[in-house]
């Protein structure tokens, strides 16, 4: 199939950037979306042009590195699928495809489709962990954890930190990302000791990074390639408020 791509090109963090149009021919339906971009880049190199920079690594939907807004949707049109797992059979001959980077103040564009997601790391640094030094642990079976609790923790922990939630949110809010970590650790007995301070600190760091607030559109939930539920956001809201009025943290 032949496609027309409109890709955001921006030479560096301080460049203004613009959409540029590229035609790619003979795209196989078996290609992944990123392989289609690989082919475009090889063409660009052959023509002496600068290839499109985009983030990617594992190409099997788990590392969370890839991320681009494809036709107005983070990771593209297929639900619960990262850009690297999106295949060209989703598109048809003659399609025009808009490809843009994640857009958020807290995710500055470094080049083309590559953004800096260091803000996510800094949120985790303020509390997204259990403070246990190596060697402190008791036997893994010492505290039974009910299967529903363990499963719920796993549902939240499945977050790959790709930032699609931020990209999809009209307010560039990081609530789903943050709530997934808060919810993961709040579902387990190991996470209880620091539950209050964790919710408080991570929420305040989100603001400090310049993410917007949640207006409950649930675009994040719909865009999340791992299908993380917005229920975790409600839980974080509750932990935050009860910490505020409990005078803790």
């Amino acid at each position: 199939m032949n496609l027309r791509l409109h890709i955001w090109r921006q030479a560096g963090p301080n460049d203004t950037g613009m959409l540029k149009t590229y035609d790619v021919a003979n795209v196989s339906e078996h290609m992944s979306f990123l392989e289609m971009l690989d082919v475009l880049n090889e063409d660009l190199i052959a023509k002496g042009e600068i290839p499109v920079a985009f983030d990617h690594d594992c190409r099997e939907g788990i590392c969370g590195t890839c991320g681009m807004v494809i036709n107005g949707r983070p990771h593209g049109p297929v639900a619960r699928t990262t850009a690297c797992q999106l295949h060209m059979r989703t598109f048809k001959d003659g399609d025009e495809i808009y490809i843009e980077p994640w857009r958020a103040k807290a995710f500055p564009v470094l080049r083309d489709l590559v953004v800096d997601r260091g803000s996510f790391d800094r949120i985790i640094q303020t509390g997204g962990f259990v403070s246990v030094n190596t060697g402190n642990a008791q036997d893994g079976n010492a505290i039974p954890i009910s299967k529903p609790d363990a499963d719920r923790a796993m549902d939240a922990a499945a977050c790959i930190g790709c930032g699609a939630c931020v990209a999809a949110c009209p307010n560039s809010s990081a609530m789903l990302f943050t709530a997934a970590k808060v919810g993961h650790l709040a579902s387990l007995p190991q996470g209880q000791a620091e539950r209050s301070s964790r919710a408080m600190n991570m929420v305040l760091q989100m603001d400090a990074e310049g993410f917007g607030s949640c207006t409950n559109h649930y675009e994040c939930e719909a865009a999340c390639p791992k299908g993380i539920s917005a229920e975790f956001i409600a839980q974080m809201n509750r932990d935050f408020i009860s910490t505020t009025f409990g005078g803790k943290a």
């Binding site: 560096g12 196989s28 078996h30 290609m31 992944s32 392989e35 690989d38 082919v39 090889e42 660009l44 052959a46 600068i50 290839p51 983030d55 690594d57 594992c58 190409r59 099997e60 939907g61 788990i62 590392c63 969370g64 297929v78 699928t81 797992q85 295949h87 470094l110 590559v114 997601r117 996510f120 790391d121 640094q125 303020t126 997204g128 962990f129 259990v130 403070s131 246990v132 190596t134 402190n136 642990a137 036997d139 893994g140 079976n141 039974p144 954890i145 009910s146 299967k147 363990a150 499963d151 923790a153 796993m154 922990a157 499945a158 930190g161 993961h184 579902s187 387990l188 190991q190 996470g191």
Partner: protein, 637 residues
Amino acid sequence: MELNTGIPSGPIQQRWDKHRADLKLVNPANKRKFTVIVVGTGLAGASSAATLAELGYNVHAFTYHDSARRAHSIAAQGGINAAKNYQNDGDSVWRLFYDTVKGGDFRARESNVYRLAQVSVNIIDQCVAQGVPFAREYGGYLSNRSFGGAQVSRTFYAKGQTGQQLLLGAYQALMRQVGLGKVKLHNKQEMMDLIVVDGRARGIVTRDMVTGAVRSHMADAVILATGGYGNVFYLSTNAKACNVTATYRAHKRGALFANPCYTQIHPTCIPQSGDYQSKLTLMSESLRNDGRIWVPKNKGDQRSPDQIPESDRDYYLERKYPSFGNLSPRDIASRAAKEVCDEGRGVGPGGLGVYLDFSDSIRRLGEKAIADRYGNLFEMYERITGENPYKVPMRIYPAVHYTMGGLWVDYNLMSNVPGLFVLGEANFSDHGANRLGASALMQGLADGYFVIPYTIGGYFAQGGLAGVSSDSSEAQAAVKEAEQKISTLLSIGGKRSPTSFHRELGKIMWDKCGMARNEAGLKEALTRIPELREEFWQNLVVPGSGAELNQSLELGLRVADFLEFAELMCYDALQRNESCGGHFREEYQTEDGEAKRNDDDYCYVAAWEHTGVGKTPTLHKESLSFENVQLATRSYK
């Protein structure tokens, strides 16, 4: 060169305890006077960086990713082994040790493997305490599954995302230390070289992947936890950025590279669909529990699989290995698939594929039961191939998955360059010639959480570390060399992209040094690789400049190292005149085509010394002694 393994004496069960008691300690107040560089933030890197910071050392952690959470450890699906014996099924430290040595086809170091089995139990405890959501039974206790190469159920798992969850546990521990100011995290920094001062590893050279700045970082010790080199084959199940640069640069600075020819080929991957293919995707080995593997009996049979009657099908694994059948170990299943495809009986585009057929199981158990077991895998398969595996048999083909070889290390995980420690897949130490499933995660975390924190202290306590700075001539020379290399690469101005060279190199390696190797092929590779390298330096084109985010340049630098490293692999494969584990030499097989080991002549670790690009490397041998496990031939008939 004398290879001093530093293995403690005494009964194997007591060696690690004895060694820990013998190691000198660093006073808690003095730990903050030592700085450690950790390169890589996968399981081994993140766990060691976090643990060393907890102990009080100053740590600088480096990753080429934008976040420390993205290393390829994250993609491990199956699980992590530990000798907990929670199932009461006869597991023990000894049995895990035994299985690992045997699974490694008797080419691993016994003492290291025993220690690995010992600390495996602590890993699970530590991870649970960190909040890793391992699967649980209804009673609230940890759940286990069985895995290849073992007769007990000792694999802990978190859905199909065990690697992800363990990595996030280590990442969170690391982030905590970053928040506390004990670890300085350097994102988007690629290691370009190792700095050796007075014979000791004292720093690294990095390139900032956003600004392009090349600079040195100095320390008292350097830890490399930079993963494996499977991407030398271009197509592998590794992440795209995985590369050999860090370990290969260290090798060029004097560190010995051990057993580079040991590569693991995973039998159940989704086959290549075209020339544009950028990587291969693994399908969990567990599929072989209910799927039957077959190809048409006749060459060139173009019928669709449902049109091929039973009588025209060859269930070759069931035929050749009646007792293990479709559950034969990874190396055996992979080679058998290659064999039938070489005979021209492969299926799918290019004839590189075999069927993994679930129709019998669906008929026997119902579609729902199969969906319960493998639903997410079937979904993933359909997403990639567009075929519905409930209706059409899956097509699978082996792919490079893991590399057992790596930098040579002693019992302390220190290379022959003092102060250079190597952890995880980047070292060679624990898996011999073949790694068992669910053991990679175990090794990465054992090294990082429970081995290096002790052994690095022993190194520091020995003293003799003078002050060092970025102004030292060695550091400045290394920076200059790296800058020089970058500008050379940018100025070639040829016609071919780094990817095209990488792809061509991968093809040579896969054909000549892949699942099966022979002397003629390896020799051919040893002439073709230098030619290709020559062309690379004449005809490469890297657009853009060095002072910006430039992914072509990153790739070019990595491919340049692969082009030198590939030769080393072939030398190693050529000298090892036997077949063992992941290394199958066609000349050395039994009459019925099984691997034939040669314990009399090759029961050693091949540790290679760099002598110059394009020059034959020097082989050093560390002989392996098996005092606790009897050398025996593996049989799966």
